[in-house]
Symmetry: C2
Subunit: 431 residues, 2 copies
């Protein structure tokens, strides 16, 4: 089917999906889980086909790993579905209730965003995770997965779609796009699609952001910093930097630049150098840092903007916390940045002055994650400042509407002064 037509039909059904009973949506999630478990042989078989093709096409081994959908991945996604079912319904929550005047009551209530387009590279488990988040939050979703796992995606989507329909949700609530050309078409559906969520490389996300009028939630870059203050505990600094760089270097919340207070350069840099060497991390330094301790190569100006995604790190000196905040706001990507200090005042200054979704003290930047924040599941991490910032869970998939119930009131009466507003907040129980 033409994707425009599919999205248009989805839009027509979006309000029905939005008003569906939460128990129906949870039932659909239970059905999805059951269906995936019952048909796992079929899923694994399709995935093996994808992996064979990837090997033939000499896809890098690191990427091949991400394409894999095996027993372990199945366990992860079904555990995620269980968690999602237990989470409270994000839809229909009352956010305010105000009597504007007698018999004129304003209520603000959460509603699903509507139609969400999800475009992702690789990782077939993302297809399961994101479609389940959309179902839980009453949204309709158009899904376009990477061509490297086309066979796996097709099987997964069909299983999920059939389970959801059998559970009683409208067939139009999910649609899978399979051709690459459909991405361009989807990007032009700004009259029907309310939000796009791209998941993939920086280049890919940037491309999506630059080629659509639809609002995009996500992050193109993750240039995270750790600033080691003059009042830092050095053991803490070394342990946290090692974790933030090496625990999973490909992640967007891995650290890319270490800033060191100029006052402690002579003491800290040799220890840092040794720690990085022990972890197999290559340091790119400035003239100053190199003079103290040496480095793999000199940092180029563009290194300060770079997300390595590998065992590489930039190192530079700054003048105290003020210099650190200025550097981070200028070169960072407003994702997650940390200070290592024992000084409460310095930490408070850093918390105020660093303009990032996550600002940390004495812990690893790798904590920036929906699961670790206790959100149960995440759609992704947003570096935008509007709507949702940082790790985005179900809350980021809903918006609100204002309901006003009256008894024939007209604005003319208030404009003329015949009537006055009361503006009295009423008690309410958010379900």
């Amino acid at each position: 089917m033409d994707i425009r037509k599919a999205v248009y039909m989805m839009k027509e059904k979006a309000q029905q999906m939005a008003s569906s009973d939460p128990e129906l949506r949870n039932g659909a999630l239970r059905a999805v889980k059951k269906c995936l478990l019952q048909n796992k042989a079929k899923i694994f078989e399709a995935n093996e086909e994808d992996l064979r093709a990837a090997a033939e096409n000499q896809v890098p081994v690191q990427v091949q790993k991400r394409l894999t959908f095996d027993e372990k991945k199945l366990q992860d996604v079904t555990a995620g579905i269980d968690q999602l079912i237990l989470l409270p319904d994000p839809v229909g929550k009352i956010q305010m209730k105000r009597e504007l005047d007698a018999d004129l009551v304003l209520t603000r209530i959460t509603v699903p965003i509507g139609v969400i387009g999800v475009i992702f590279e690789a990782r077939p488990d993302a297809l399961v995770q994101i479609s389940c988040l959309c179902i839980k939050s009453g949204n309709c979703a158009v899904l376009k997965g990477g061509k490297e796992t086309a066979a796996t995606n097709r099987v997964l989507f069909d299983l999920i779609h059939n389970a959801v329909i059998a559970a009683g949700l409208p067939a139009e609530c999910l649609y899978q796009a399979e051709n690459h050309t459909q991405i361009e078409e989807l990007l032009s559906c700004d009259d029907c699609v309310d939000l796009l969520i791209p998941r993939g490389s920086n280049k890919f996300v940037r491309y999506i952001m630059d080629h659509t009028k639809i609002p995009v939630m996500g992050h193109a870059d993750g240039v995270c910093h750790i600033y080691v203050d003059a009042d830092a505990d050095f053991d803490t600094a070394l342990r946290v930097i090692a974790d933030a760089k090496t625990q999973y270097p490909v992640a967007c919340n891995a650290v890319e630049t270490v800033l060191v207070d100029r006052k402690i350069a002579g003491k800290f840099l040799p220890l840092f150098n040794k720690e990085m060497k022990d972890c197999g991390v290559r340091i790119y330094g400035t003239e100053e840092t190199t003079a103290v301790t040496g480095c793999e190569r000199m940092a180029e100006p563009e290194d300060f903007h770079k997300e390595y995604g590998d065992l590489e790190i930039t190192c530079a000196l700054v003048d105290g916390v003020k210099g650190a905040a200025a550097h981070i706001n200028r070169y960072g990507s407003h994702h997650t940045d940390a200070i290592i200090t024992e000084n409460d005042e310095t930490a408070a200054f850093f918390f105020h002055m660093v303009d990032s979704a996550g600002v940390y003290r004495n812990c690893s930047t790798r904590f920036a994650d929906g699961y670790r924040y206790g959100f149960g599941a995440e759609v992704g991490i947003s570096t935008s400042k509007l709507h949702a910032r940082g790790p985005v869970g179900l809350e980021g998939l809903v918006t609100y509407k204002y309901l006003l119930e009256g008894s024939g009131q007209t604005v003319g009466d208030y404009a003329s002064g015949r009537k006055q507003f009361r503006h009295r907040d009423l008690p309410f129980r958010s379900k």
Copy 2:
């Protein structure tokens, strides 16, 4: 000064502005009020100059009215400043506090958005209102007013700017752009400007939305509907429609289309026709409605998408509330739409199925307004679904950040299972 340079310097100061004491910001607002009152002769003189030029350039009388800044407007804006001072500080509110593990505490706190670009046509009072909203919420603002009130804007801006600086806020927190060419430059500052708020005609807002990568808050269209259900009280229907159409026809929340349940067409349309005639409103009808009651002219297909901003209204028949919701979701602008019915079930269906920022029952669409909702002041009305929807007050000018305070925790310990997350919500007092 080059606007890019000005915005860049503003961005550098944005965190200082964001961390400013709320009492300092309120003090600045008090100073602004005092300064405007003390220099009112100067303001009125500049405004007379603008009005003379407007009359010479044969600007329509309706528009000339909007350009006026007189004693009445001064009273309105200073009353607005008084209200703003009394409102609680929107910055630094704790939204969640969660112990992820021992000594690892996550806090979500509201922060200003940062640098806001405000581009408006005419209405010099908007300059005062919006700059004061930005000061109250700790944001920096670039302001570009319409050329028709260039003299008034210059005087108002200088008074506000000087008052704010004297009160102790950074000089870079406000900047006025005066040349039309600077709009293009401002639209290209997506690395420094966090949000654009355009205020003006539909065409103008649409132009801004289509020519920038910066997120835009506002509404291009206001095509509001009133649906008269079979179970409507006819007196209520006629009174509400007359108010929604005629009380201020230029407003975005005025009604443009009336939908009538086909079942009551024969009874209701003649009454509606008479009421509209009495109010001087021209009806554009369909073949069906015209057969019952006549009309000014037949409605063209594009009339259903049209915001008249004048004493004109489209009228069509639909099949019950289901047909009404489908029509509104298809042709409306997701702004504000009302049902007139005495039937609770029908109203509930309408509330669920209409996908608009405001969904009303038995009252005028003209209530969609920050002041009437009790928000004290408004930046504008948003028809976007993300971030802020409907009338936007101070709440729409803030975002949040996550602060994480630890004691050396690394993600490796949790990934390996050596440590477990607690995810225990802590009590907090939002200031």
